[in-house]
Symmetry: C2
Subunit: 540 residues, 2 copies
């Protein structure tokens, strides 16, 4: 057998010898048969099964089992019929059938009547390491039982399955998380856990953590707050859920940035809040032009009504990266005061600014600003922590704490205590400083590659030297979703900018996350992406 | 000074020498002054400040600071004006002022202009140990900014601040949680954390934990499920939130047990689900009487319409404790099938049955039953873990996983891995067995005391020998809420049964939780409660 990269079956794809991922359906059946057989024969080595010195069926069983446990045969991969595999591997059919039956009895494979033999979703020993098989997804509308709003949620669902690697946007480098130190702190707390930290929590979070967060925000983000204005939530989603439930009613409207973070759409829709997309320009979210009022307001404005909520990301607009200008901030605050709107400031990655002055928060610009400030530890610590915070005006603090306890039954106080200590000891700030340097380096590597191969125009002009991702600009005529799909098939994850538009996409581009990509991988990954981009260019 | 119990100021109450809690407002100002002074003088000891050998203001500073750190002066307690304290303690006013200023500068106290000096909400050193001060709670309707649904949520909010001790219902004995073992497992996992466990999770939870939960439920609760039907949620609240969002629409109706768990009301109301209370009898939730249909159904039933959801606790009705009979279960399943309703089976503490056979789940009674089964680790591990699970029918599994990821951005995979390992190693089952023995013992102590001093009739006849609480029956004419309040003032926490009714309470009684009360404390705590009950009897 020629020396070549072992083909690897991954679900519905084969990663072939060029290290491209090719959809399985495109492979002829005889090729599939031989690919699986190749895989198994390679595992056995030059001598084949005979050389193992075991009974043939035992040898084959070991071989397939090993392939499953090591991930070469991914969950839900279909194994060839016994007759075909026997022919390919020059074994008797009984041998193969016996091996299949052993694997079936022990749970490594499952048989579906009329369909064949499939690698099990969870292999018995390796279940801790095997990725979850996605249950067959019937079209949402056809699901018996889903309500209209449930079906609509799923139809518009954007959250993809967990992924990691170039160029997943929004994901920090979790391999740099100070896990030993965190484990030490946790271990010490767990030596003598306080009963009231294990029991149900009062709404709002551990006072120590609220104190630490308040202190940090006052200094780092110029937020005006005391610790009793802070609530600890289950990430930003819960924060937004709580805000719209306590301050909004079904039928209220919210302004969202266009393009903007899709994650809040589901939460708003579920709570009956209507969304209106406001375009983003070089200064941030645009406000409607103020017509002069002479004895009557604009009819259009009267019909629409002012929004109850205005969701903005002023420090680093998601996804385009623009920083809201000072003038626009003042205008926005003025607008909100006039119309009784609540501004929800989502400050999701503001710690990571690589040049220039830190941008102070919108909330801190004025006394008693009508701003709810929300933030998260997902980008600074790790996303799986699911810990965020909300800063509410003092008059609403008690209401929010009680509402939080009532709706969500607060808890996680042990973890919150560990995070509080991390902050108190100064290690949180030190970690952010280290990551800031690291992300700045990675950003500059990627940015230089883009400039060199695609030109300086390819970097979106709104982008600022900050954050965990940048935007690669594409011509308005491109199909960025198709390019993203092509890249995905080759193992590179990017997000098309068009997907972040509520309405018709006004821009095209790709979000490239660099934070979770080691420096040495940026080049090779970019090479693959470049190929996709240039191919698309040639085709158009 | 006579030997007497040191008075303890707790927020707006003083715990006086009879160990009763007396509202502060009832104490005359001169009494307050002397109580604080007494407290401080007792701390100093017989020799007074002079004996400390320090400058007087330093001695007073130390004294007050010590009182704050040890909790004798609770957060937000108002300190007497310097002039008054000086008079009481026979010091010069300057001495007291100097001490106050030191405390102010270091953050132990806060000054409010025109109001006085108050102990800070969080003292600098002790912030990890000081209870959170509840922000002043203005009436919900008066809150600027709350929407009508927000105001209504708060007006009906039932979740009390975190409490621990006799006789808090629903709280397990968290001091017995195998924290060392859990810490060991966590520490090992944290030595080499997997990046995809730190990153965002795919909806639904860690496959390993879903596998372990499925295996456990199949055996322990006769639930029909495979691991891909399991979702891990943030406690039961999130499970119910997800179910009603995906399967229900605003305007749908839900049947809830009467009396029943108040915790789901907020979630249902927020999601626009109307509630109808169905009384509970000796067999469980009652169903409407089936009228014979001869050419037309009952008009009343046509107006009401069948419910979309039916929430039941069939293994151990909350709060009365009745076990749903076999006949009633079949009738309920028949009803749900006929009318297209979803039964939501809340199996919150089914592990703790102390006599008789384990009660199999409703979900497992029939193939493809229209039942969503939900459970929680709150009672078996610890409530602050905030980890529950949902078993959905196979056809909906994919939809639920995606919906879960979309609405809540799943995470916590490290913690889930630790719990999975605890289950896999058999320690989870062993822990439950130990706790079952312990709770059985505590229950029997309390039950015997009730029988002895109040008669066997005082134990609710619906109650079964199971769970973390029992119900003390009271005559229909009693005011159980008033008795509960009287007990609370004496430091004993009980819940009045009348609070669990949506409508007019049909029964009166008190929920007594015994799980978190050490055996030696049950007697003394019951004595206090008995006094309250007997006093109420004498008055009526």
């Amino acid at each position: 057998m020629k020396a070549r990269r072992m083909p690897r079956v991954e679900g519905n794809f084969i990663r072939n010898w060029r290290y491209n991922r090719v959809p399985l359906l495109q492979i002829r059946w005889c090729q599939l048969r031989s690919i699986c057989a190749d895989l198994l024969l390679q595992r056995l080595g030059p001598g084949g099964i005979d050389a193992l010195g075991k009974p043939l069926n035992r040898g084959l069983y070991d071989c397939i089992r090993g392939a499953i446990l090591e991930g070469d045969l991914a969950p839900d991969t279909r194994l060839p019929p016994s007759r075909d595999l026997a022919a390919e591997m020059k074994l008797s059919r009984n041998t193969v059938m016996f091996a299949y039956e052993q694997l079936l009895a022990e749970g490594y494979v499952r048989a579906r009547i009329g369909s064949g033999t499939f690698v099990a979703s969870t292999a018995p020993e390796a279940y801790l390491n095997v990725a979850r098989s996605t249950p067959r997804q019937a079209p949402a509308a056809a699901m018996p039982g889903l309500s209209p709003r449930g079906a609509r949620l799923l139809a518009e669902a954007s959250a993809s399955s967990t992924q990691w690697g170039a160029f997943m946007p929004g994901v920090p480098d979790v391999t740099r998380f100070p896990h030993r130190r965190f484990a030490q702190i946790s271990a010490r707390l767990w030596r003598q856990p306080r009963p009231d930290w294990l029991s149900y929590g009062a709404g709002g979070g551990l006072p120590a953590l609220c104190e630490a967060v308040a202190a940090h925000l006052r200094v780092a983000r110029s937020v005006r707050c005391e610790s009793d204005q802070i609530l600890i939530t289950e990430g930003i989603h819960q924060a937004i859920d709580l805000v719209v439930r306590l301050l909004g009613s079904p039928g209220d409207r919210a302004w969202v940035e266009e393009p903007g973070y899709w994650g809040i759409r589901s939460v708003l829709q579920m709570n009956g809040i209507g969304m209106m997309a406001r375009p983003v320009d070089a200064e941030g979210l645009t406000l409607p032009i103020q017509r002069e009022r002479r004895g009557g307001g604009s009819r259009a404005r009267q019909d629409a009504g002012p929004p109850r909520f205005i969701f903005v990301t002023p420090s680093h607009q998601y996804p385009l990266g623009v920083v809201m200008s000072l003038a626009r901030r003042r205008a926005l605050l003025e607008f909100a005061r006039q119309h009784g709107s609540w501004i929800v400031e989502d400050d999701y990655d503001s710690e990571f600014r690589f040049s220039g002055q830190p941008i102070p928060s919108l909330q801190g610009m004025e006394q008693d600003a009508p701003v709810i400030y929300i933030g998260t530890f997902s980008k600074t610590l790790y996303p799986g922590l699911r810990m965020g915070y909300v800063v509410v005006p003092r008059t609403l603090a008690g209401a929010f704490q009680r509402g939080h306890g009532e709706l969500y039954r607060a808890g996680h106080l042990m973890t919150q205590a560990a995070v509080a200590e991390l902050m108190q000891s100064g290690e949180y700030a030190a970690h952010i400083r280290r990551m800031r340097l690291l992300y700045a380096k990675r950003r500059s590597i990627l940015a230089r590659l883009i400039e060199r191969y695609l030109g300086a125009d390819a970097l979106h002009e709104y982008g600022s030297n900050a954050g965990l991702h940048l935007v690669l600009r594409l011509p308005d005529s491109s199909d960025d979703a198709a390019i993203a799909e092509a890249a995905r098939q080759r193992g590179i994850i990017v997000r098309p900018v068009s997907r972040y538009f509520l309405g018709k996409p006004a821009q095209r581009g790709l979000l490239l996350g660099y934070a979770c990509v080691p420096e040495e991988n940026i080049g090779p990954a970019f090479e693959v992406l470049l190929a996709c981009v240039l191919e698309a260019r040639r085709r158009s």
